[in-house]
Structure formats: structure tokens, C-alpha cells
Symmetry: C2
Subunit: 120 residues, 2 copies
DNA sequence: GTTTCATTTCAATACCCATTGAATCAATGC
DNA sequence: GCATTGATTCAATGGGTATTGAAATGAAAC
């Protein structure tokens, strides 16, 4: 992961509501959640939520797919792990064995039965 | 680590120059580096750098101590690890064994011979 | 085909951030 | 003491961010 990508991901997570959104999506796993459900759980206005989803998506932390009239958002574990890797990159001055690289993954890694391919 | 602390740490790291500063301090290890050295290496104006150090310090990611007329800044690995722990907290839906918690530590954990106790 | 539901777009607002230059403070050397 | 060096403070500037309300889109149901 490039430094610019790391800054983007960090900035995306460095906001109360967005951190809540992302953590909720991580808990939800690869299936993701419809925007409305997230809005309901976190008590956020739908337009505000769209704004935050956009930032998470631009940072590569989230994917969207349409299901009927719902937009379903899901966490991108791949990006999150790349970020964790980047953050631990400079530890232990090269003695990588002494440093535990972090891993973030869903409990059940089953494939989503998406109506369309997730976008970004 | 509380959510508010995590947001503060993420915000502190979510900026190009500050991320550079922090990574440089991580590489430098517990001994830390004088502000002037950091300014020189990263080519930052001293007042700008003070601004960024303040934000890192408020986020608990950095400590300062005075040595003569130099101010010596050092990374706080403890906070960084708490942040990494927080970020991986919601992975694997409780199956913590499947998730590798991250660790960030200096290669040599020798004690600093500080003139004064480091401040926050 | 119009109504309904889920979500997005747009414009406006208030607030926070990063950088700069000038001035100040603290410690050292002469 | 006085000048020098290292770092901080202060005020000002431009740019970005989060939230809100009103309006618009897109897909489904009747």
C-alpha cells in the first residue's frame, strides 16, 4: 500500500460516524448491509450517510452493490489489512519476526450472491 | 482504547506530513529525535512542525522531553498498539484466534536516559 | 402509469485544518 | 550581559469537512 492510500484510509476512518459505519459493516461481514439499515442502527440522516459512504468508498474501504431498491454496502477487508500492514511496516527496524502483522477478516468468508458485481 | 481515542489517533495519522513524522519517529525508536533533526529530514518549517507535533502529542502518539535547547520527540508504541488492537477488535466476529492482533514495537527496547521525564 | 420507497444530489452553512511570516521564549557560549 | 541557536506562539489566510433541508433519481408495487 502506498502512503497516499494509507492517508486516505486513515482519513476515512478518522471520523466518529464513519468509524461506526465501518465497524458495523465489519461486524456484518461480506454480505454487507443495506444503507437504510445502517441509517437506522446508527441514527444518521440518509443524505449524511451517503456522504460518509462515498468517503469510505473512495478510500477503498467499502464496496456497494444494488439489490432491488436497496444499496448494499460491505467492508473491504483487503484494504483494511493493507492499511494495518502499512502501519506496522516500520516497526522493529526490519526485524519482522518480532513484529506481528495484523489481520482483519470475516468469521465466515462465504461468497456473496450479488445481483451485480460490487462496484469498487 | 475508547472510540474517541481511536478517532483522535487516526486523525493525527491521517495527514501526509504527520504520518511521515510518526514513521520517522518509529524508525528512530525509543531514543527519539530532536525537532530540528525531524525538520531537516522532512524539510518542514519549524513552526509547522510544532503544530504537527502538538497534534500527535494530543493523540498520545508521541512524547517530548527537553535536552538542552533541543526538544526530543519519541513515538509512543503503546498507543499505536492500542490503536491497532482497536481496529482489529471487530474482526472475525469474536473468533479472536482467527484474527492476528497487530503489534508495533521498537527493535531495541532500551530505556531512555532522559534529562527529565517525557511529558505525555 | 402513477404512487411509493430507498437513496442520492445539490446548495448553503458553520466549523476545523494546514501553512506562512513575524515575533517571542529558553538555553547556551562568549 | 549580549548574541546565537533551537523551538514555540500568535494572527492571518485559504481550503476542506460534516451536517442540514429541499429537490431529484431509480426501482418496485399497485
Amino acid at each position: 500500500m502506498e502512503k497516499a492510500d494509507a492517508v486516505a484510509a486513515l482519513a476515512a476512518l478518522a471520523q466518529d460516524n464513519r468509524l461506526d459505519v465501518f465497524r458495523l459493516l465489519v461486524q456484518a461481514g461480506p454480505e454487507g448491509l443495506p444503507a437504510g439499515k445502517v441509517a437506522e442502527v446508527l441514527e444518521l440522516a440518509p443524505n449524511t450517510l451517503t456522504f460518509h459512504f462515498d468517503r469510505l468508498r473512495q478510500a477503498g474501504l467499502v464496496t456497494v452493490r444494488r439489490d432491488g431498491r436497496s444499496m448494499i454496502y460491505a467492508a473491504r477487508f483487503e484494504t483494511m489489512n493493507a492499511l494495518l500492514g502499512f502501519l506496522t511496516e516500520n516497526c522493529c527496524q526490519g526485524d519482522t519476526a518480532a513484529c506481528a502483522p495484523a489481520a482483519c477478516k470475516p468469521a465466515v468468508a462465504k461468497r456473496t450472491k450479488s445481483t451485480k458485481e460490487p462496484v469498487r
